[in-house]
């Protein structure tokens, strides 16, 4: 049972049962719907940006506990963070999922709890869905405002 306990840590289940920043966000500067076609996880992510900071972030979605908890934890972590740091966090989280031992990296905070997903390769894309959506949203925003 130890593998399972590592995957379904209490903090992850807490975010799954009581997702943070859930709902629509208005106004928003990006608003993207993405899914994992193979398993049916869905995330609709909203971001509101002011002075180069992600001042508001919210999501709607359905899917497995890992996809929804990871997205909920992400919204908590990136809210109020400037765009470059948010992007950096997303890349850091991707490295965590790719198997790097980053659990002690303070920048990850609670997100380090998702390290257990490393052992379940099929579930990694679930954990990444929200983050990939965020990266897309940030990219689209930057292209629109800097391009």
């Amino acid at each position: 049972m130890s593998g399972l306990d590592e995957l379904y840590k209490e903090v992850i289940l807490d975010h799954y049962r009581s997702p943070r920043n859930r709902g629509k966000l208005e106004p928003s500067d990006f608003d993207l719907h993405r899914d994992n076609p193979l398993c049916g996880d869905e995330v609709h992510l909203y971001g509101h940006i002011e002075d180069g900071k992600l001042v508001g972030v919210a999501f709607e979605g359905k899917g497995c506990s890992i996809s929804q908890a990871s997205t909920s934890m992400m919204t908590e972590r990136v809210k109020g963070v400037n765009l470059d740091n948010a992007e950096e966090l997303a890349h850091l989280f991707k490295r965590l999922m790719q198997g790097e031992s980053l659990a002690d990296d303070e920048r990850l905070g609670d997100l380090a709890a998702l390290q257990g997903v490393q052992k379940y390769p099929v579930r990694i894309k679930c954990a990444l869905l929200g983050w990939n959506t965020l990266l897309e949203g940030l990219k689209a925003y930057k292209e629109k405002h800097e391009g």
Partner: protein, 409 residues
């Protein structure tokens, strides 16, 4: 038959997974292999291995006799009149694609229609979609009624002189529904269409007689019926096969070759280009011997009883939603379900920690998932070696799923 005795023939079942005895309930994805099949693969490579239909030496003769023997076993197994109508493929999927290429693409044009169903595996949808794209024909689907059976009234209304192919799964891989192929075939023939039946989930589990089914083509796959992966079969009416263009070009499928043209070998060889998976085909023959020795009728009865038990036990689980027919006599040994709004992947991962292997996902049947209004489901599927204790372990593990995942706000 005694499933407890049967289990002893399957070495893989005798192991612990995550500290619990393995309960393998993912047979609709692939079956396990009995020692007899594993031994025959080893024996063939150690004693008889050679290419078929080419070599005049002794090993070549032995391999050819065994390979053709396996073809005859497949023919007898599904009630085909002669081995000439049996084409070895790599899978049921390849069988469907062969028909989409070698039959549909040469005969269909704009205005023609192919009828499939909403409960098909993607292979029995996408293969025809591609043929439609190339020919201008239209693909239609018989709707699923009440989440369980095909709407045959709608089917009758869909049939017309434009209908060229009707292609239906014998047993649904998600709902377990056994479709009324004979009835569907009769109506299709009256409309002048040919009938394709996808037997991937049927041939391993119940007696099949293509004559009684009345279809024109029947596809199946070995790995779901105790044989290795990479070997499947297509049966077709010989007159139709004779009339078809080849599928793949290459060795063995030709009669003679010039630089500017070729002539074709006789059936079934016309459709078997290149060196086939000889050992796997022979092992399919061994798997058929194995299934016949137990008896397909006995296997079917065992699965009905186990499915009846599973449906009863699963109905006790709070918040469970079970899909498909509720009468085990009307379905194969497949039970798909969801637990409240808990995603099937969480269900699959948690029951795995109890040693229980089930499938979780859309089962390559996205149109059906959409029709059922779900993104995915969990699925337990049974075979001749499964026993009631494995169902009990699944039910116990599902309690753990609710405990871990339940109580969402």
């Amino acid at each position: 038959m005694d499933a407890r005795e049967v289990r002893k023939d399957f070495p893989i079942l005798d192991q612990e997974v995550n500290g619990k005895p393995l309960s393998y309930l993912d047979n609709a994805a692939t079956s396990q292999k009995p020692r007899q099949v594993i031994d025959e693969l080893k024996r063939f490579f150690e004693e008889d291995n050679a290419n078929v239909h080419r070599s005049v030496h002794t090993l070549g003769e032995r391999a050819t006799v065994l390979y053709e023997g396996a073809r005859a076993k497949v023919a007898e197994f599904i009630g085909a009149p002669s081995p000439r109508g049996i084409i070895f493929t790599k899978s049921a999927t390849e069988g469907l694609n062969l028909l989409a290429y070698a039959w549909a693409r040469h005969r269909l044009s704009e205005g023609d229609e192919i009828i499939t169903t909403e409960m098909e595996h993607h292979s029995n949808i996408v293969s025809w979609q591609l043929a439609c794209r190339d020919t201008g024909a239209t693909l239609r689907a018989i709707p699923v009624r009440d989440g369980a059976t095909l709407d045959l009234d709608a089917y009758e209304r869909m049939l017309s002189n434009r209908t060229r192919i009707v292609t239906v799964g014998h047993v649904s891989n998600v709902l377990g529904t056994i479709n009324p192929i004979a009835d569907i075939a009769e109506k299709a023939h009256d409309a002048g269409a040919i009938v394709v039946c996808d037997g991937a989930q049927a041939a391993p589990h119940l007696p099949v007689d293509v004559g009684a089914l009345g279809c024109d083509f029947y596809v199946g796959t070995g790995h779901k019926m105790c044989a290795p992966t990479g070997i499947g079969f297509l049966w077709g009416r010989e007159a139709l096969l004779e009339d078809m263009e080849p599928f793949h070009g290459g060795g063995d499928m030709i009669s003679d070759v010039w630089i500017d043209h070729s002539t074709w070998n006789e059936i079934p060889y016309k459709f078997e280009a290149g060196t086939p998976p000889v050992a796997d085909a022979i092992a399919l023959g061994t798997a058929i011997d194995y299934l016949n020795a137990i008896g397909m009728k006995a296997i079917r009865e065992h699965e009905i009883e186990l499915t009846r038990y599973a449906l009863e036990r699963l109905r006790e689980v709070p918040e469970i939603q079970i899909y498909g027919p509720t009468d085990p006599e009307l379905k194969g040994g497949v039970v798909s379900f969801n637990l409240g709004d808990i995603h099937a992947h969480d269900v699959g991962t948690i029951v795995d920690s109890w040693g229980v292997a089930i499938r979780a996902g859309h089962h390559c049947s996205k149109p059906l998932m959409r029709k059922l209004g779900i993104a995915a489901s969990a699925r337990a599927s049974f075979y001749l070696y499964n026993v009631e204790e494995e169902v009990d372990r699944l039910v116990e593990a599902l309690g753990d799923v609710t405990r871990l995942m339940g109580g969402r706000s």
